[in-house]
Symmetry: C2
């Protein structure tokens, strides 16, 4: 298949076309994804999530620059609810990313969530696959927001980073617990601001509670009111810092960054690499990939069954016929769904 | 069925049991939902959403009190990602709600998003159905967060309220456009704070852009720097305020509230009632209900097909058998899904 060849030969035009096809779904998308599948799993996929206004986008920009300094190519997928009439968010992203977007070894794709309800995590993973097959060495998936869909997307990455900022008055209390638990690395961005030390402390206490050891991480230097940052990170993340111990559980580090100046970003890149090494050495990389592929196969199967219901069975026709009865209360959605399912099962509806 | 009878007779214990059953899904849930279906569609369902820290919960609390002053019973469903180990978010809600939770005519249910991936909007709607069948006159669905799932949930309500606060430095820019478009009413909460007027102005400009009439709503009184609130709302929402015009599109009002003191909450309740009257008079109430029921029937059918795939076909067994081949790259998820789908279709897998 031409498009698949093009992608594997790193032809940008093929990739741009393939991306559009994959985002809109359908049979051709499946063929492309099937064609490139054996070339996936070669890059490192990092998910970055956090509440609006936490400076994720600037941080992702600077992280891409850090990777470029290491001569690694970078693909960025920004998942972003957008709008046909304002376009504000997307435009903002493109302007923001200019510093890296002129570099031919950095590719940025903004994905609108519109129209992709339900399967957004799967589609995002498929776009990341394409970037891997194309040859990008680092893939950053940035999700805006802290809702369930965003968490599901973040979980499709090998390593998940949660970005927090000290400014939200209520600290981590405004972030629900479900959000706090997903990350492999925590970043307190804008950590030159008042309250950054307190926020880091809170996160570390929370991580301590998770390990059943509440105060382990609240070392005295975290109790100080000093507004200098990065001190403890630099200590912790020096090349001669703590070795990766694959037999022990990963202890999520809490890093401080100032994305606008780039402070702490090299340390973040290093911590991400350490997590990747940990995942590999502990066998979790294979295990996580296996789980993701099982989930993907299930999602593709469900998508296929739904398409089959629409295209090859009379399900939609029956639904339309029965809708009046549901609307005026004569029948319930449950009766109608059961009737259609019966027909699908027995093949009568085919 | 006993439980159904209990619910229709407004027996609290039956409802509590039914709620747990519905949240966990399955066959018994369907039976209950089928049984109560003809008694749904009697209450008014209001969705309240907004970013973390916007004071939604306090506002919902006060709105419930406003309804109680009108002798209306109120059911509240708070959808909230939570955690088995901290429980923080839920506990917070319960304490917060104490002022209304001692009232027997107010019922509060916190729903965890955990385990309900993918079908959360449907489950939330089903819980709201149960509260309607029980006899609650007003049902408030509160979602925490501004992600895709939260939007999907908010859209299941008849009337959607988006709560914003002036404190997020970047105003509505931090909220993505997709979020801004869903609401029937906008509330600037904490509107005694600096920046509230500016935020209201921004929202009204945005709503003007949506109507192709950018500056229509930026009346001079919005340009003032005065920090008093509610002035324009009171004018707009007086009983002798603008009549509901069912033949014209609804123009979403932008209201100011101070939830902590209750300021502006009666006006919000009134605006909600006006929107309900508008929906009824314009025929949109029936139309929206019809669309929701079609979507619900589809969701129930999809759920049924998925359950059938798991229980009655060899789909899961085949998936397990093929997973090794997928993991080591010999086959793609797309090949395997296609194989299983073929077997389901031809009945071989049954």
């Amino acid at each position: 298949m031409d498009l698949v060849d093009g992608i594997l030969k790193a032809d940008s035009r093929s990739m741009a076309r393939a991306l559009s096809i994959i985002e809109s779904g359908g049979h051709q998308a499946q063929e492309i994804l099937k064609g490139i599948f054996s070339k996936t799993g070669r890059g490192v996929v990092v998910g970055v999530t956090g509440p609006p206004g936490s400076g994720k986008s600037t941080l992702v920009d600077k992280l891409a620059q850090a990777y470029r300094k290491q001569s690694k190519s970078v693909g960025i997928v920004a998942v972003d609810p957008t709008s046909p009439f304002t376009g504000g968010a997307l435009l903002g992203d493109r302007i923001r990313m200019e510093s890296v977007s002129l570099d031919p070894h950095v590719f940025i794709r903004s994905m609108a969530t519109r129209g992709a309800h339900g399967g957004l995590a799967t589609t995002t993973e498929e776009v990341a696959d394409l970037l891997e097959a194309f040859g990008f060495q680092r893939i950053i998936v940035e999700t805006v927001g802290v809702g369930q869909t965003e968490l599901d997307i973040a979980r499709t990455a090998e390593t998940t980073v949660l970005v927090l900022v000290p400014e939200s008055g209520d600290g981590i209390q405004t972030l629900k617990a479900g959000v706090m638990e997903i990350a492999d690395l925590y970043v307190v961005n804008k950590s030159d601001r008042l309250g950054a030390d307190k926020l880091r402390q809170e996160v570390e206490v929370m991580l301590g509670i998770r390990r059943g050891n509440a105060f382990r991480h609240v070392a005295p230097h975290h109790r100080s009111d000093s507004r200098t940052v990065g001190q403890s990170d630099r200590k912790r993340l020096q090349p001669d810092g703590p070795a990766v111990r694959p037999s022990e559980p990963w202890e999520p580090p809490v890093l401080g960054t100032v994305a606008s100046t780039g402070q702490g970003v090299d340390e973040l890149a290093e911590a991400l690499d350490r997590h990747h090494v940990y995942l590999e050495a502990s066998g979790q990389l294979v295990e996580r990939r296996r789980r993701r592929l099982a989930a993907r196969t299930r999602a593709v199967l469900e998508r296929g069954v739904q398409r089959w219901l629409v295209e090859a069975t009379r399900a939609e026709e029956l639904l339309r016929q029965r809708l009046d009865e549901v609307t005026d209360g004569r029948r319930s959605p449950y009766d109608v769904a059961a009737e259609i399912l019966d027909q699908v099962k027995t093949g009568v509806a085919r």
